[in-house]
């Protein structure tokens, strides 16, 4: 029976650089996946690309790949990543230039494009899932980008053409893993729904990196996890019969257990029987798990149903501006003083009639994560931090400056004893989604050889 081993080199854009290095050096894997593309990252990358057509890919592309390129090629470890963001072709060229500098020869780098459906979406003017409005109602000038979630298909095409590295833009996260599984096992992407369901289950468990190997899990006293300073990267051992084991690199921190795998299986899942990806409607509702060794969990009984006729598209648009300020109070009565400051902020904004569409005040250390109505043991904190967050649609930067200054000056013109004020202002680039008929999305694989 054939088994392929896939490691997660990054589970999100800011993940540890060392994960990829360790996996390539010591992981004994066939594939390494870097998932580095959050929802709105592609919109920000698109803006960078508009300023410079050679940019628009992940900023850490070279930092992540420089230390592993030579060794991965020597060991035959293939690299798959969505670090291409808004410009996979430019990313492929950047990798080629790194390869030439490092004298890595015979490297085939595939760029997958076609997720950019901005023009199609503007023409279709589709109805958005979130609010039932049409895309054009966002204001045509506010639209920044529209990218469809591609599936495994173009990555399989790249691997079939002999790619050592596949760089994509927007691809559904599990599909980055489904692709090598489908390629190695000659799965039919238009019919092997059960196997695609199993591969998607593996991909879903792996896509967030250490989330399945002890990260975001340890809770002293009830779920004790050691070694957060050297958390082990997850490795999936996928057999050609569809059975697979989730494990991690040996002699590292963290754990792979039924507990970690169960939490990750349901992470960001709604109906477990209908997890819709571009490849398949995966069904995790009957999944079973067995601890078959230390840090080894065997996963069974995932399945799948035929894929849908549409692909999900993220539409990125300029929504508004946010101004967020904070300052602290300490000692006896700090919560009362913080409440007074929050109250003053709201009244002050009203008094000045500033162009504010939403204002939210929180007291960090008291009610900022969940409302105090939700929980609380009644004990008062020793120190708190006031947080005032304001949304404005004003395109006049001076108005935003005035709002920022009003928050900042609350520390001076407010209750006793503030400390450590800080204010940030930012563009709010938001995402809505629409569905697009599959046949309107055309992907292209472009190979660069070094």
């Amino acid at each position: 029976m054939k088994t392929i081993k896939i490691g997660t080199g990054a589970g999100y854009a800011d993940d540890r650089i060392q994960h990829g290095v360790d996996l390539v050096n010591y992981g004994q894997i066939n594939y390494i996946i870097f998932e580095c593309l959050a929802e709105r990252t592609i919109a920000i990358a698109q803006q960078a690309k508009l300023k410079d057509p050679k940019l628009g890919y992940n900023n850490w592309l070279d930092i992540r790949l420089e230390p592993i390129l030579k060794k991965a090629k020597a060991k035959g470890i293939k690299i798959i990543s969505n670090m291409g963001a808004a410009n996979p072709q430019a990313a492929a060229e950047k990798i080629a230039s790194i390869a030439r500098e490092q004298r890595v020869e015979g490297l085939k780098i595939a760029a997958v494009t076609g997720d950019d459906v901005f023009e199609q979406i503007k023409q279709l003017d589709s109805v958005m899932i979130e609010d039932g409005k049409k895309v054009s109602e966002l204001g045509i000038d506010n639209l920044i980008a529209a990218n469809a979630y591609l599936g495994a298909e173009p990555i399989v095409e790249a691997l079939s053409a002999g790619a050592d590295i596949v760089i994509t833009g927007r691809v559904a996260d599990p599909s980055l893993f489904v692709a090598p599984i489908a390629f190695e096992n000659n799965l039919r992407l238009d019919g092997d729904w059960t196997m695609l369901g199993k591969a998607t289950c593996a991909g879903h468990l792996m896509e967030c990196g250490t989330y399945v190997s002890g990260g975001f899990y340890g809770d002293p006293g009830i779920k004790d996890i050691q070694g957060f300073d050297d958390l082990g990267q997850p490795i999936c051992e996928f057999q050609s019969d569809g059975c697979f084991v989730i494990t991690k690199r040996p002699q590292t921190g963290g754990e792979v257990s039924i507990g970690t795998c169960s939490e990750q299986l349901l992470y960001e899942i709604h109906d477990p029987a209908r997890y819709i990806t571009p490849d398949v409607v995966a069904d995790f509702s009957a999944v079973t798990m067995e601890q078959v060794g230390p840090d080894r969990v065997s996963i069974s009984n995932a399945t799948g149903h035929p894929r849908t006729s549409t692909l999900k598209v993220n539409v990125a648009y300029h929504d508004s501006y946010a101004v967020i300020g904070e300052f602290s109070y300490g000692g006896v009565g700090c919560v009362d003083r913080a409440k007074l400051a929050c109250d003053a902020a709201i009244k002050r904004f009203k008094r000045l009639n500033l162009p504010i569409t939403e204002c939210r005040t929180d007291i960090i250390g008291y009610n900022s994560l969940f409302s105090e109505n939700t929980y609380g043991n009644g004990a008062l904190p020793n120190e708190v931090r006031v947080r005032v967050a304001v949304r404005t649609s004003s395109k006049d930067y001076r108005q935003r400056g005035i709002i920022a200054n009003e928050i900042r000056s609350l520390s001076f013109n407010g209750p006793y004893g503030y400390g450590g004020p800080s204010v940030v202002a930012k563009d709010v680039i938001a995402i809505n989604s629409v569905l697009i008929p599959r046949e309107l999305v055309h992907t292209t694989v472009t190979m660069t050889e070094v």
């Binding site: 169960s262 939490e263 709604h270």
Partner: protein, 112 residues
């Protein structure tokens, strides 16, 4: 005799986000714990506990073979990660809020 414990004594949780929808999975430590939370943790209880946070309906899915429940809380993330003015835009800490839920169970058989 009735015992009042926290959900944290029975189960562990993880919260995730998709748009303006939060999901919180609740995984019991044992089969017995699962039977307790399966009876106790109704969508109505979740809705009440997240009264201020979850503005939309709450759905529940069961995976008994994993001792797991999955709750889907609609309209609960202030518009979602990309729009929210909240500190915890993903609602990752919602799972910790749920773990503090007092669980009233008569049949756990371990006394107070």
């Amino acid at each position: 005799m009735a015992t009042v414990k926290m959900l944290r004594d029975y189960a562990h949780c993880r919260a995730g986000d998709k748009g303006d929808i939060s999901n919180i999975c609740v995984i019991a430590y044992t089969k017995e714990d699962f039977e307790v939370i399966r009876m106790f943790l109704t969508p109505e209880i979740i809705k009440r506990q997240f009264m201020v946070i979850a503005k939309g309906p709450v759905e529940r899915y069961e995976l008994p073979q994993l001792n797991a429940l999955n709750f889907v809380l609609h309209d609960s993330l202030n518009g979602g990660v990309t729009k929210s003015l909240a500190l915890d835009i993903h609602g990752k800490t919602y799972s910790s809020a749920l773990l503090m839920l007092p669980v009233t169970a008569k049949d756990r058989g371990q006394g107070a």
